[in-house]
């Protein structure tokens, strides 16, 4: 097992390097970090030139990438633009855990900036994922057990529509109905934006109240996709010979469904969840924007808008690394569930 994990991690290294290189090159040309330096746009050419040197943007892209990756504390850089490199570099590089400093929030390390926002995104995404998986399991199994019934047909139709809905439409409609119109009609209503009401403060109750609509929006679409998937997986498993064997043994239906069928159906389900979970980290961009949720998705959009390359790269690499880690975790869970798979 340990050997397997080590091997997978080693295999992931070139993958992550390629991803980081591509993204780095894209980002270098995508934005102008000088355009929004901490809110003040430097206009004087000499200021621009100085800032460009300070940020190392005067170097060719491959040198910039090298500095980003392994740092520049082993060499000297030219800060005053006189043509000789005299100042010792200070950056340690991503490989040593230094993602650089944010350009927008001048001087703050990228890691600090990201980890400030990470919990907000996590609380949103994990709650949503929990709702999705639990709900989809219930609906998917129930609908598979009653294939072709009226319930199944209606549900399949609703899920189909849900599956085709863009998240912003769900977000905007639910916000329009449950917060704006409910307020107009004098009903108890849900808050529209933010994480808490500044007048009341950041209490647990406030956060939960503010989470309802975003979680619902995120969950709605994936819920439909997951339910459809779980339903078809369950149907496939329920048609297997070993289910017939279990029935021929006179086992109660409950036991057949939840032990004999579900344990087999859980294999593909685990894979899907494991691969989707880390992608959700970045998947909340639209939801966080609509509900003004102070998470990583918004940090990402702001970073892109204002040319904060180090922060954007940090977020992208965080996601790429978690994808790799979750793939390994998924494989381990899969092997734990499926006795046919052994790593040695």
């Amino acid at each position: 097992m340990t050997r397997y994990i080590v091997r997978r991690l080693l295999q992931a290294i070139p993958l992550l390097l390629v991803i980081s290189l591509i993204l780095f090159v894209l980002m270098q040309n995508a934005t102008d970090p000088l355009a929004t330096m901490g809110g003040r746009t430097p206009t004087r050419p000499e200021d621009r030139a100085r800032l460009t040197r300070q940020l190392g943007l005067d170097k060719p892209v491959y040198i910039q990438y090298l500095y980003w990756l392994i740092g520049n504390d082993w060499t000297k850089v030219d800060l005053d633009g006189d043509g000789t490199a005299e100042t010792q570099g200070k950056r340690q590089g991503v490989l040593r855990g230094d993602f650089g400093t944010s350009i927008v929030q001048t001087g703050r390390p990228v890691t600090t900036v990201i980890f400030e926002r990470l919990p907000n995104t996590l609380i949103l995404m994990l709650t949503a994922e929990f709702v999705i998986v639990l709900g989809a399991l219930l609906v998917g199994i129930f609908s598979a057990l009653r294939q072709y019934s009226l319930f199944d047909n209606i549900l399949t139709g609703i899920l189909f529509i849900g599956y085709s809905m863009p998240i912003f439409f769900v977000a905007l409609s639910t916000m329009y109905i449950f917060s704006i119109n409910f307020q107009r009609w004098g009903l108890p209503h849900l808050p529209t934006v933010g994480m808490f009401d500044p007048k009341i403060g950041k209490t647990t109750g406030q956060i939960i109240l503010h989470m309802i609509l975003p979680v619902f929006s995120i969950a709605f679409i994936s819920f439909a996709a997951y339910s459809r998937y779980i339903r078809s997986t369950m149907l496939e498993v329920l048609g297997q010979d070993y289910i017939r064997t279990a029935r021929s043994k006179g086992l109660p239906k409950r036991e057949i469904t939840f032990i004999h069928a579900l344990k087999n159906a859980s294999l593909p389900i685990v894979t899907i969840v494991g691969l989707d979970l880390p992608l959700l980290l970045g998947g909340a961009v639209v939801t966080e924007r609509i509900f003004a949720w102070p998470g990583m998705g918004r940090l990402f959009i702001d970073g892109i808008d204002r040319g904060d390359t180090p922060v954007v790269m940090g977020i992208l690499m965080l996601i790429a690394v978690s994808v790799v880690i979750f793939q390994i975790i998924t494989d381990i869970v899969y092997a734990w569930l499926d006795p046919r798979i052994r790593f040695d």
Partner: protein
């Protein structure tokens, strides 16, 4: 065999259909037979002739939809199985009537241990403690000839070979000592040597336990050594029913004759070598008019195409569904 035996399973006019997008499949078309205590009944016929569907209908294991038991009556020890509730049926399955299936590779749940799959029948149907269940499971595995049974309880199906898995299936079926074991082509998917071992096991079951058995097969060769009585099925109909020796010595239905001719036999001379049955297996999508075997039958008469013969007693306990007397070639 002469004395009156106790009939404990009786099937009357069983009809099962499948409603598929291609149309209705007439899988079982009015099958009636009975089974005595301790008797071994062989059900023979080509694949798709309705043998398995008949047996699965008895235990109500047919997937509904698309399947549907249209009519019929199954009486097991004074209980009408087709009218029981699903709960009551669960007490019959595995406890009173057990079934083993064709493909041992797919019939065991791949993610549960053999021990768990063996003991769950006991847990469901008997008041045994987990410890007693375990003991019983070991005894069963021993009995079906799995070495090192205590250890193997914790193994998963993929760690067993095909023959061993079929033994496990049999052990599972025997767990609650049912009064009837239905074996649906249990040897078809196995190697010839393994087949022989499984058949030996079944014979032992018959002699030592005295369990009644219904043995479904398409191989008449297997039947000879172990069955008391044989039913031959074609296109969802029973076409012939006889004691095993009668059937071999004196087959009355052209289909049975054809089946026997297709069987390799050591005592047969070379020029009379194997004969295959002409024509294609029947189309089950339409309710047959006339005898379903008529298009392939070498004795076919006008009447065969118009009317479907009923299964009737020809001599003694020997029944056949045929208008023709195969000895003379004329109508009976």
């Amino acid at each position: 065999m002469s004395q009156e035996q106790h009939v404990f399973l009786e099937v009357k006019d069983l009809r099962t259909r499948f409603h598929t997008p291609e149309g209705t499949i007439y899988a079982v078309n009015g099958v009636s037979f009975s089974l005595n205590e301790g008797e071994t009944l062989a059900v023979v016929g080509e694949s798709g002739c309705g043998k398995s569907v008949t047996m699965m209908s008895i235990l109500r294991l047919i997937a509904m939809p698309p399947g549907k038991i249209v009519s019929g009556e199954v009486t097991y020890r004074d209980r009408k199985l087709l009218e029981l509730s699903e709960d009551a049926m669960e007490h019959i399955r595995g406890k009173e009537i057990a079934m083993i299936f064709q493909d041992p590779m797919t019939s065991l749940n791949p993610v549960l241990t053999i021990g768990r799959q063996l003991t769950e029948t006991l847990r469901t149907h008997t008041p045994m403690t987990p410890e007693q269940c375990r003991e019983r499971a070991i005894t069963l595995l021993d009995w079906v000839g799995i070495p090192d049974a205590t250890k193997r309880l914790y193994d998963y199906p993929h760690q067993f070979s095909g023959g061993m898995r079929q033994r496990v299936m049999i052990a599972m079926a025997l767990a609650c000592t049912p009064s009837l074991l239905i074996a649906d082509e249990p040897t078809t998917a196995l190697d010839v040597t393994i087949q022989a071992q499984i058949i030996e096991l079944a014979k032992r079951l018959k002699q030592d336990v005295g369990m009644a058995m219904i043995w479904i097969t398409h191989d008449l060769g297997v039947v000879a050594g172990m069955a008391d009585r044989v039913i031959v099925m074609y296109a969802g109909f029973i076409v012939e029913e006889a004691d095993v020796d009668d059937l071999y010595d004196n087959p009355l239905h052209p289909y049975t004759i054809a089946l026997l001719q297709a069987l390799p036999r050591a005592d047969r001379r070379r020029e009379k070598s194997l004969k295959s049955i002409q024509g294609a297996p029947p189309n089950l999508l339409a309710e047959p008019v006339g005898c379903p075997f008529a298009p392939r039958c070498e004795f076919v008469q006008d009447r065969c195409v118009r009317e479907n013969p009923l299964l009737q007693i020809v001599e003694g306990k020997h029944k056949a569904a045929c208008w023709v007397d195969v000895k003379t070639g004329g109508l009976r």
